[in-house]
Structures are given as C-alpha cells and as structure tokens.
Subunit: 474 residues, 2 copies
C-alpha cells in the first residue's frame, strides 16, 4: 500500500496548502475517514452510453465504489463511493456568455478532478467556470459524506458532510456540515454548519441558519471521529439493501418499468413500488413501498419510503422522505429530510418548493398547502408559520426576517428562478417526454447503457491503486 | 450495428485474402457462427494481477464474453467467449535463441490479435516467432469453437472446432475439426480433420488419423450449420451451470480452498468436490463430484465429473472426463475426452500420458496400466492394443505403424520431450510449490487478482462495438 499512502499524503499536502491558511487542517479528517480495507473492497464503474460522448482517463487514483458517466479525467485523487455524473456537460460548439462576451466551447466539457478526496459525494451538472468553460474542475478539494458538488468549480475547498455547493465557483472555501451555498463566485469564505445561503448577483439573498444544537441531533462527529445523528442512522440501517444490487450483474427489475421510464439497476426497489411513465430512478436511489407518478424522479442518494409522489415531483440529490404524500410538481431540494412516521405523516401540496436542506421531522401530522415555499426546521404544523410562506406572498417580499431566515431582494425573481430551474430539471430528466425525439431526457436516453467495472490492485506496493485506464469513443 | 457489420466484413476480407487461394471461403462459416444478439449479451473481463505486467489495448473490436490476462493488444477483431491468457509471456530481457543466435527481448512480450475472429478459443503460453519474439501474433485468422492456440504464431489460418495449434508458427494453414498440430514452421498446409500430427524438426514424427465416420459422431456440422456430436452435446448440457458464476460478483467459494491452491471464481464447482494443496482450477473449468489431488490442475474448458485425480495430474486445456480414476502424474492432453459412465469406468495408471485429442469412450470398464502412452480412439480394453504402448517400449521405437498411427524417429526423445513438458506445466502451475518464493506458480501467483468487466455499446450504429480501452500499469 506504499503507493496509496503516498497518494494520501500528496492529497493532504495539496489541500492543506490551501486550507491551513484558513485555519483548517484536514489531515485528521481524511485519515480518520479512510478505511484502508474499504479502498480495495469496492469496484468502480463507468457507464457506456450512446447518448453521451465517452472519454474517461483515470490515473494514479483510488476510485473504489464510484460511478462515472460522461467525460471525466481523474488524476491523483481518492474518489470513494461517489457519483461523478457528466450527463449535463456542455457540448463542443455550445456558446457561453462570460462577462457579457459570448464564446464557443472548442471541445466537449470534461469533468477534471485533481488532488482531491471525495467520499459519497455527488458531482453533477456542468461548470460555471468562466476561465475555461471546457473544464468542470475540482482541484485540491475534500468533499465529505453525502456532499453535493453541483455545477460548481471548486478549488482548494472543504465540504463538510451533507453540504451542498450549487451552481457556483468556489476558491478556498470551507462549507460546514449540512451547509448549502449557491453564491456565484466565492473566495476565502467559511460557511457555517447548517447555513442555507443563496445569493444571486444583485438580485436577492436568502439566508437561513439552523440552530446549532438542533443540527447536532441530525449531523455531527462523535468522539471517535465517526459521523453521528439521525441522517447517518437513517442511512446506515438501509445500507444492507444495496449489497445484492452491487453483488449481482444480472439486471432484474422486480417491478414493471414503463418503456419511457428509467430504473437504474444500481437502485434499490423494496416492497410494493410503482413507477409511472417518464419516471427516473437514479443509481443509489432507494424506493420502498412507494409510488412515483408520471415524470417524477428520484435522484442519487434519495430515499423514498412508504410515500406517494404525484406526477412531476422532483426529489433532488440526497432528498429523503418517509410516510410522505407529495402532490403534483413539488420540488424536494438537495439533502432535504422529510422524516415522517406512520402516525405523523407529511403532506406537501401541489406546486410547493421544499428548499434544499430542509428538515421536516414531525411530532404530529403535518400538511403543507399548495404553492408554498418551505425551508428550515419543521416539527409541528405551527412551525410552518416561521418556516414557510405561500409562493405568491413570497414573490412580493423585498426585505424579510422570519425565524432564522432573512431574505433581501426581489422575491418574485427568487420564486421565478426556482420555478424555472425545476422546469429545467423536469425537462432534463425526461419528465416531459411525449414520444418526440427532442423531448427525450435522461430517463429515455439512459436506455442503452452498459456498465463497466474496474478495480484496484489487490496486493503488493500498489495495493489499492487503480492502474491507468483510458476509454475513448472512436 | 453498422460499425459491427463493417468490422465483420473487414475480418472476412482479410482472412479470405489468405484462405481463398487455398480453396476455403470462410464467409459462410463466420456469418452462420455469429449471432448478433450474443455479441452484445456478454461482458468481457481482464484480470489485474500483481504478478503479471499489465497492458491492455482494445480497439475497433467486439470482445464479448472473453477473458484477458497479461499484456494484450487487440485491433479489429471479434473475440467471443475466449480466453486470452498471457501469464506465460516472455519478459523483457529474456534471451531467446533464433537460428542458433541468441537475442534479448527489448520489451515484455505482448499478445497481438489483428483482423481475427475467435469463438470459445483458448490462447496461451508465448510465441515461437523468431522474427519478432516480442509479439505473440494472431493475424487474419479464424479460430472456431474450443480451438486452442498454444504458443503458436498464426497468420492467415483457419482452425476448425476443437482443433489445436501447439508450439508452432503457422502461416496460411487450415486445421480441420479436432485436428492437432505441433510442427514447428508450417506454410500453406491443410491438416485433415481428426489428424494428430507432431513433428519435431528431424527428431520424430507422430501421426494419427481418426476414422472420419467415427469423428462425425463426436464433432461435425449439421445441415443448419450448427455444431453437432458428442462433444457439443456434453458441453451444451452443462452450460447452464456457468450462468450464476457470470451473473454474480461476489466471490463465494462453496468448498474449502487451501492457501496454496487457486480456484477461479469463474469456474464451476458442483456437488462434493475436494481441492488439495497446490491445485489450480482455471476459469471456465467445470468440476463436479470430484477430487483433485495435491498439485493437480484443471485448465480452461476442462470438465472433471465424478472423477478422482491423484496428485500431480495435469488436465490440459479442453480435457474432459467422466467417471474416471486418474493416478499420480498422469497427463490428459488438450481436448481429450474420457467419456466414462457409472458402469463403464476409466482408470489411468500412474505416469501415463494421454495424448492430446484422445477419445476414450468405453463400452466396458477400461483400465490403462501405469506408464503408458495412449492415443486415438478407445472403446474397449482390447482397443488399447493398437492405441497404447508402455512408455518404456515406445522409447525404443524408431519406425512404427500400429492401427491408424505411424511413428518415425527417436521414440526415446519423443517420450522424454513429453515428460519434460509435463514437468514444466506442473512447475508453471505451482504444483511443486513448497513455500519458497521461487517455487510459486500460477496457483500461488494468481492470488491477488481483481477482475474488471467491460462491455460494448448497447445501441446505435456502434452497437456491439467496444470503445477503445487502454489499461496501463504505471
């Protein structure tokens, strides 16, 4: 394992060179997170698809348990049990606007990951990097458990567990546990744990902060350096259901899958489940005793248990729900946690937006009206008074402080941006598919996919290292 | 599938350019053998090992169901359900003697397969090509079901089903069904079906010919262009046992495997089986209700059913036996078929050599004494009079015609060469392992192996084609 140790030290040095000046030494976090046995235990896999250009280059890295789709170049990194999804990368010839100037991509965008450490991380979408739009770059970065890197160029950053970097460019930033940031360009900034911060250049700022004592119940480090709290307990209990999924090669959907729908063979389907047309269930999604209405989708690391989704519901990456009834065209944001129970059900009305990183953990049945914006931490129906607002009312706001949330700017633009994004997600995922070729989305495109499994050396000084692999479409 | 069709036409044209002048048009044979659905159905896999240098390059090919170990470069070929085993390739620095002159390999030997079509073929050992000993080359060649290419450079050749090209260099040759050739350099030669021909430059010639009507019962083409006869019936009935082996990723040996033994996770173990120390069971071997004594090995495509192997028994590639009792240090040659039955058992005495392509299909119990050379077609004990001879007696022969076999040359050298080769095989496979590092063979070396699975495009014009893949050890 000499080579692997050398690699770990190399990554630590490159990341610390960025973060120690900001007061964070990540050596201990990485050392205590890496279990050497785990680094050889899992295979990595990439999808070969006829709808996405193919290019993979993996060198001097450990990629155990990770999934790659779309063009990707990895160098000197450890990417563990993560999803690197490049099915929304920009194509050659795409025109992007940088500083008001239009420029054309001279080649297909490539995800480029260098000197980085990721565990159970989701990377998706495409880069907002104006310097070189051909690269979706993740450089000298640590991304911890269930963090999301979504359309965000990241250099010299630390992402805490369950944190999300969304549609941004981050340079030397620290994202605390379960923090969410969507803030354009950000340099040398620390985001507190449990902060949900959306800043659209000059248009609006949304800022919510979880009470730290509440946050600790859901996500914290215990004295052994292990993750603790409701989030990981919830996930831990369900991990075992993924074992047969990864141990078998035969693709054997246990439920009928409509022609226009996609059920990843790397998803878990348990109990009585129904998938309607145009639904999409991504790899590492977990569906148990639930129904997904037409065009609804369950993204990576989403858990839908004992729940019903009407049509066109989006469950974003890491969205989790139990005993929930979700009505038409509801958006469940990144890493939201709707932790209902048999006697304390959750109902979300049509057209509502559950903001990223919302926790609804009811002590009583909770019902959210149609067309509502919900955020923060909700335990009772009464909590909604300070953690939600009708979309129409929010659209009229310019300055608002309510509970732990403050909003400044154009409320209408905020609502409109969100709704546009949800529609974009629906279209991209194929929810609007009508049989026409140009209405196809991921659910329809991901049909002819083969999965390719690759592994590290299992012994000797290179134990845990993957060989150099180049896959080219030509 | 446009690209795949183009590839098939390309291969046919290159092979026919060589073989039509010899009176063989392989277009029909290839077209009727290729089932388009099969070409996308199976994954290919390569082994990543710490004991063999790693280099794979696959381009413009279909490799469905095939296994690769060791350095290999494939270009514009269809390699279907085949084993390309480069664990005996010559290493950089090895000195070879060519025309009496010693020369050193300037780099590791690579198996190079170009413009060729193979189905269920075994490629093993290393090249005897004096022109460029760095390449084990298979060029413009068709190798049909269960053919063996063993240490043989092949250019512009056709190998019929169950034929074997052994330790030779063949240029523009046709090997009939179930023929075996070991003949140094051979150009523009047709080998009749069922001929077993060993010619060692100036030392000896062994020549056996199966009666063609007998051969038809075992291997022939039926009127639909499908293979028929006892060989394929035997194999067909057991194919289903391999399905769970290939559908599962979990390595779950159902029997104890001694530390010094190797049981491939791609072998079938059925019923009560025992593996003693230093045994080796290769991928695609099939063991049912049988015991393998210390240091015995079962090579690719060997079938050992209701049989007992004493210590140091070699079952070469494609060797098959039912209800057989094999005593110590017996050699069962390539594609031999010991088709015993409950009431018609076969016993082979210690130190005996069952020649490649021998068929023992008893109408009564058959017992072969110790230290016997056996060849040809044996149905009764009496048949042994013309199909076997004590090794000591054979060693005294110079000219011999007996039944369908003729031998000319130095009988002692013939026996000695065979015995040396058997000892080499035992050593190479690790049968002689005694705990010392330099006594390790394949059984001990193949410990730390990971398997990497790759697949073709499953749709579109590239359906059935594999992308270019390069795997490098660095």
């Amino acid at each position: 394992m000499e080579r692997l140790k050398k690699l770990i030290n190399h990554i630590i040095s490159r990341i610390n060179a960025n973060l120690i000046p900001m007061g964070l030494d990540i050596e201990q976090a990485i050392e205590s997170t890496i279990n050497s046995a785990d680094l050889t235990r899992y295979y990595a896999y990439y999808a070969l698809s006829i709808d996405h250009p193919i290019y993979f280059r993996f060198q001097e890295s450990n990629l155990g348990g990770s999934y790659f789709l779309g063009k990707c170049d990895v160098d000197r990194s450890i990417i563990h049990l993560s999803d690197i999804r490049g099915d929304e990368l920009k194509a050659k010839g795409t025109v992007v606007k940088v500083g008001g100037v239009e420029t054309e991509l001279y080649r297909d965008e490539v995800i480029q990951i260098i000197n980085s450490f990721m565990i159970k991380t989701l990377v998706h979408n495409h880069s907002r990097n104006p310097e070189i739009p051909e690269y979706f770059r993740i450089l000298n970065t640590v991304a911890m458990h269930y963090s999301n890197i979504h359309g965000t160029t990241i250099e010299g950053a630390y992402l805490g567990p369950f944190s999300t970097a969304d549609l941004s460019v981050l340079h030397n930033c620290i994202l605390g546990n379960f923090s969410y940031v969507q803030a354009g360009y950000l340099t040398r900034t620390s985001i507190d744990p449990g902060r949900v911060w959306i800043m659209a250049d000059g248009k609006y700022v949304f800022d919510y902060r979880y009470p730290l004592d509440v946050l600790e119940e859901y996500i914290s480090w215990d004295s052994n350096g292990e993750l603790a709290g409701h989030f990981v307990e919830f996930l831990r209990g369900r991990r075992i259901d993924f074992l047969p999924v990864y141990d078998s090669l035969a693709s054997k959907a246990t439920i009928p899958v409509p022609e226009s729908a996609f059920l990843s063979r790397y998803a878990v389907i348990k109990g009585d489940c129904v998938l309607r047309p145009n639904t999409l269930v991504a790899q590492r999604a977990y569906i148990e005793n639930s129904l997904l209405g037409k065009g609804s989708n369950a993204q990576e690391n989403s858990y839908i248990v004992d729940s019903t989704l009407a049509d066109l519901v989006v469950v974003a990456h890491g969205g989790k729900m139990v005993f929930s009834e979700i009505e038409e065209k509801v958006f469940i944001g990144f890493n939201s946690f709707l932790y209902g129970a048999q006697e304390n059900r959750i109902k979300v009305g049509a057209g509502s937006i559950v903001m990223p990183h919302t926790i609804i953990h009811p002590d009583e049945p909770i019902s959210i009206p149609d067309e509502t914006l919900v955020w923060g931490y909700v335990r009772t129906q009464k909590d909604l008074a300070t953690q939600s607002m009708p979309l129409s009312q929010f659209a009229t706001q310019r300055n608002l402080t309510i509970g732990n949330m403050s909003f400044n700017g154009d409320g209408a633009a905020f609502v409109k941006d969100f709704q546009n994004r949800i529609e974009h997600i629906l279209v991209a995922n194929g929810a609007r598919y009508n049989g026409e070729q140009d209405s196809r989305g991921h659910a329809q495109k991901t049909k002819s996919v083969s999965y390719n499994l690759f592994q590290p050396y299992l012994g000797g000084e290179k134990e845990g290292m993957f060989p150099t692999i180049i896959v080219n479409d030509n």
